[in-house]
């Protein structure tokens, strides 16, 4: 506890002059087509998405997206999507095991239709109060650590699909 007291005392002794409280960032002006923006951004970060229409079978939508011969998928619920960066927010409260978000090789996130915000400013305001753990997942796991060549599927998901469904 000496360390704590000493560090806090040193910080206070530094007497940093007051700085204004940053103004809250306003929500984005009504963006045109958030769904379209989300879908193209997600594609640019290596993911894919679809909207499951009321008459469609969810599994069929997923397998169409996946392509032939791939079946073992993990389906997790997402709370909402972020148009500017292709991310989906997933909260640990909705999962049985936190590690599932990274253990799954083929990951499907199901997001309620219409649950899309424009930017991270709105997104952080939608974090559930008292959330114990949550993620913004933007496309599959990736690395460019070998000569800046993009490799999809570094250590987590090799495929990340987002399906909007009511």
């Amino acid at each position: 506890m000496i360390a704590r007291a000493e560090i806090l005392a040193a910080i206070r002794a530094a007497e940093v002059p007051p700085a204004p409280t940053p103004a809250p960032v306003p929500d984005a002006a009504d963006a045109a087509d958030l769904l379209q923006q989300f879908r193209s951004t997600l594609e640019s970060v290596g993911g894919a998405s679809a909207v499951c229409e009321p008459m469609q079978v969810f599994e069929e939508v997923v397998y169409t997206l996946l392509g032939p011969g791939r079946h073992a998928v993990v389906v997790l619920p997402g709370r909402f999507a972020v148009a500017e960066n292709g991310a989906v927010y997933v909260d640990a409260d909705d999962l049985t095991n936190r590690a599932d978000v990274v253990l799954a090789t083929e990951l499907v996130l199901v997001v309620p239709t219409g649950a899309i915000v424009a930017t991270m400013h709105e997104a952080v305001r939608r974090l559930p109060a008292g959330s114990r753990c949550g993620w913004f997942l933007s496309g599959p796991s990736k690395t460019a650590d070998i000569e800046q060549a993009l490799v999809i599927g570094a250590q987590g998901a090799k495929t990340l699909l987002v399906v909007f469904r009511d």
């Binding site: 936190r98 590690a99 974090l127 913004f136 599959p140 650590d145 070998i146 800046q148 570094a154 250590q155």
Partner: protein
């Protein structure tokens, strides 16, 4: 300290082909950043990011206390470390008490700064760096050469040879896909079975008591949600006040770092999973002292995006290892002298003061001004790097005296125009020694031209 930055940079430049390749690799990342930051609100975002950092530094003690209260309430144990030694000791005690012998670590510049790996290795604990780039340099017995791209100086064929030795990939395998796949097998094995996970943090949020960790590979998440204990090592300056502030940071961080709109994984964690432990070690290690120095205070705003490295003409052409500090590039050159002025006194001179770092910095740190201020301090401490004092005294005398300055210019132009190149490009000339052509000198100076045109006296 052995050789300083100039010597190490000269050695790097000896392999001119590799130096050019390194330069291009980083310029490529810089260009990706330019495309990703092409948003109408980008400059306003940078303003807002600078403000939130200034606010956090002005209220640092209170914000840390608020963070601690919230984190503790949700089951996290918060530790405080005055310096690297104390940090290492705390981490070691936590591991020893749980008989941990194998630790999976995700990227953390702070543990580099504290030299945690060698400290734990000396006490029988194996630390595996699980970021692919960090694993490459770790297997090779090197330090990262870049804060975001640790193995940017490695060619894929070299990674192939390294992985052949360690993971048994085919000897001539150099495809990034195949090599990354081999690393995936190895690293997932390590991450899922480690006795403990250590991660850094990109931010702490006082308002939620949350720690925020960004990765593209997912290694931090694999480790922290699998191991029985998760230890977060984080510098005290990483705190932000609110989720609103976090939103701003997350918008600028990955765009500046790699040109992505956000990293693939952004984790906000406030509580350990049921049955597991979570510890946060808050580290000072010189930060509070820097906070007390108005001239260099804003260096604490750094969010370690690496943009200033990617854009820096000196960094790109001298390589991260030439800085001989855990953080290379322009930001390293203003952080390192505060740690050890004598050892790092050449770094503030490793810059042309072109200002490109300041132009890309997402939190608007005025790096060139701080480089200049360090030069002043180094000169007043009589600690100028070898040879600089004599040159500066000479040069100072000339530029301070208009007549001498003009005649020196005249002589230099004549020499460049009329002396045989072989004489000018001798071993004594550091400009040509580095393989550069001497510039063509104009017949007259700007001032002479203006005088002739009747524009000045």
């Amino acid at each position: 300290m052995s050789a300083g930055h100039p010597e190490a940079a000269a050695a790097f430049l000896n392999d001119s082909e590799r130096a050019a390749w390194h330069d291009q690799a980083l310029w490529f990342v810089r260009q990706r950043r330019d495309r990703a930051t092409d948003l109408p609100e980008w400059e306003a975002l940078r303003d807002r990011a600078a403000e939130l950092k200034a606010y956090a530094m002005a209220n640092l003690a209170g914000l840390l206390e608020a963070f601690e209260t919230r984190a503790t309430a949700s089951g996290v144990t918060v530790h405080w470390a005055r310096d690297a030694k104390e940090h290492n000791r705390i981490v070691f005690d936590l591991l020893r008490q749980r008989s941990a012998t194998r630790v999976a670590k995700s990227k953390s510049m702070l543990t580099e700064e504290c030299q945690l790996n060698p400290y734990l290795a000396a006490r029988g604990i194996e630390v595996v760096d699980t970021d692919l780039g960090e694993r490459i340099v770790q297997l090779a017995g090197e330090a990262p050469s870049h804060i975001v791209l640790p193995a940017i100086h490695w060619k894929k064929e070299e990674v192939g040879t390294l992985f052949h030795t360690h993971f048994g990939t085919p000897a001539d395998e150099s495809s990034p896909d195949a090599l990354a796949a081999a690393a995936r097998e190895h690293l997932r094995e390590v991450l899922l079975h480690a006795d403990a996970a250590i991660t850094g943090a990109n931010a702490m949020v006082a308002g939620t008591g949350g720690v925020v960790i960004c990765t593209n590979e997912g290694n931090a998440d694999l480790g922290m949600h699998s191991a029985p204990i998760h230890i977060v090592s984080v510098g005290i300056e990483k705190i932000v006040a609110t989720l609103d502030d976090l939103g701003v940071l997350l918008r600028v961080l990955a765009r500046s770092a790699t040109g992505q709109p956000i990293t693939a994984y952004t984790t906000h964690i406030t509580a350990p999973r049921p049955g597991a432990e979570m510890h946060v070690v808050l580290v000072d290690n010189g930060r509070s002292a820097r906070l007390a120095d108005p001239e260099f205070r804003s260096a604490l705003h750094c969010i370690r995006c690496g943009a200033c490295l990617n854009t820096c003409p000196v960094y790109r052409r001298s390589g991260g290892h030439s800085y001989q500090y855990s953080i290379a590039g322009p930001i390293g050159a203003i952080l390192a002298p505060a740690v050890d002025l004598d050892a790092h006194r050449a770094l503030p001179f490793a810059s042309t003061l072109c200002g490109s770092c300041k132009d890309v910095c997402p939190v608007r740190i005025d790096i060139p001004v701080q480089l200049l201020a360090w030069r002043g301090r180094i000169a007043s401490a009589n600690a100028l790097p070898k040879g600089y004092a004599a040159i500066f005294a000479r040069l100072g005398g000339i530029v301070a005296d208009r007549t001498r300055f003009e005649s020196a210019g005249r002589w230099a132009r004549r020499a460049l125009r009329f002396l045989p190149p072989a004489l000018l490009a001798g071993r004594w000339n550091p400009w040509t020694r580095a393989g550069r052509e001497l510039p063509l000198a104009p017949a007259q100076s700007f001032r002479e031209w203006a005088r002739r045109e009747g524009r000045v006296e």
